[in-house]
Symmetry: C2
């Protein structure tokens, strides 16, 4: 069993793996979420503060804990509006760090909040910035598909994210467009991103052209 | 002065450089054409046949010569509908390989054709496939801006490209949308890509969201 600090070495950190991520996405061999993790891995440093705006099943939260841990001061804020998501995330994190010492360190690193992502500014200490805010927009995988993130709250959340991300930081949005309301939410994200000033934001998107229901990756990089 | 074979080692081939290309694009530090070259570098092997559908000033043709050379059998077909583009490309290639031996090898590797890209099948030997067809759609940089690639011919060229690219090969399209007719051409490319069957093609696009006139990268990968 790996210790907490050893866990911080993700398979994604090997050069040869990252090297081929863009091509793998173009070949359809890697999913959008894998590309997103690869990008986060290069942006986020040990010791950074980051925020997972949509914990879902906890996989992104877990990946972020591994990225910020081991340097001292790393902090992951995890939010979800669904109680079942917070429960699933908690269960995944506990299962991933079963040893008492590792579990204690993990709990010092992450804080989970049953809260709408539009209220993220309430939990980040005033005056501090985060390196990454990530969104996984859509329904909770395996959960109630009638409970989805909605455009109005998402717009508020993106506005909040743009205020708490520091210079050199990233807002990463993975938009699932295949569910009811997904296209509208995607349009909301694009409308927000398209008017961010070019002197302080680089906004890019990556999408599949012949798979209209495939998730779209949107990155908002703060210069 | 480097010899012809030494020239085949491009700065793009270093692992650390390629490693950071996706992130550099997201940060706005690399241009779309640089990302395209990085992707080609990973797809194209020494000895491959490739086709530059729009030579322009010759920079892509030159990059491709470096990628296919050194393994024996490498071949670059270069097309342009404008005589001045063929002349500029010829001049760039000659200037890049000034020594007689290198120049001879270069000329054995590349063939330039004053021909519309919609007729590319006329120059690739029947029954043979290419690893890459690249398009740089728009006007000739520094040339006559009234002479642009037009949607009808581009559609025919994309159809031709889809027939001559072999399995594991790539159609790479860089679309400049900032000139008159650019948006229509972009729509043509997307309409073509969006209906390619998902079982044999992976079609992706990469674009800037808050710079609507920035060039868009479209990759059509043949499984």
């Amino acid at each position: 069993m790996k210790s907490f600090d050893q866990q911080t070495t993700s398979p994604l950190s090997s050069e040869s793996t990252q090297n081929e991520f863009l091509l793998s996405f173009i070949k359809g061999e890697k999913k959008a979420i894998e590309v997103a993790h690869s990008v986060w891995q290069q942006v986020v440093q040990k010791g950074d503060k980051v925020l997972d705006a949509t914990c879902g099943n906890g996989h992104d939260t877990l990946a972020l804990i591994k990225m910020v841990s081991g340097g001292g001061g790393g902090q992951v804020y995890g939010l979800d509006i669904q109680k079942s998501a917070i429960e699933k995330t908690t269960a995944l994190l506990n299962a991933s760090f079963p040893h008492a010492d590792d579990n204690k360190k993990m709990k010092e690193t992450v804080e989970l909040f049953l809260l709408c992502h539009s209220r993220m500014e309430e939990i980040v200490p005033k005056g501090s910035f985060v390196k990454l805010v990530c969104f996984n927009l859509g329904y909770l995988p395996g959960g109630d598909k009638s409970i989805i993130t909605v455009p109005e709250r998402t717009l508020e959340a993106l506005e909040a994210a743009s205020r708490i991300v520091g210079s050199g930081g990233l807002i990463s949005v993975l938009v699932y467009v295949g569910h009811i309301g997904g296209k509208e939410e995607y349009e909301t994200v694009l409308a927000f991103a398209s008017v961010l000033p070019v002197d302080s934001w680089v906004c890019s998107k990556f999408e599949m052209v012949n798979r209209p229901l495939a998730p779209v990756l949107v990155f908002l990089f703060k210069k």
